[in-house]
Subunit: 85 residues, 2 copies
């Protein structure tokens, strides 16, 4: 059964308090290489049957309608991960 990954991130123009908190913690820990952190969600969806165009279209629709909040989030990526059988 193929696995399809959906990546959802907060909209770029919005404040990401969680990300800011982690970035601040990294700075306090002396990790100055990191200038910013943004945190989103990664969904791994296993599908029955092949990960064909129709399935990917359905995943995109579900991602935009159900898995993400269109007001504050963007679906930034959908890709098929190798078939773990």
């Amino acid at each position: 059964m193929p696995t399809i990954v959906v990546d959802v991130m907060p909209k770029a123009e919005l404040l990401d308090p969680q990300g800011k908190a982690v970035a601040g913690a990294l700075a306090r820990l002396g990790r100055s290489t990191f200038t910013g952190v943004r945190i989103g969600k990664r969904f791994e969806i296993t599908v029955d049957g092949a990960a064909d165009e129709a399935t990917l279209a359905e995943v995109r629709q579900v991602a935009e309608d159900i898995l993400s909040n269109g007001v504050i989030e963007d679906v930034v990526g959908i890709h098929v991960v190798e078939d773990r059988g």
Copy 2:
């Protein structure tokens, strides 16, 4: 400034209540193509300077020590996203 993405997922052998809830909702909405959902975190970390081997090694260490809980989560991927300058 390059952006490095860190993907963190719940350990495969652990129950993922959030994922189960979403999978149940999709089934109730008639989306029978989807047999399972697992939900993790996606970090986008912007770094100062080049995303070279040393920086990637530091990101891996931060990912394993700070960004994920080694008891219940795995770092499943670290990759450089194109330089958004």
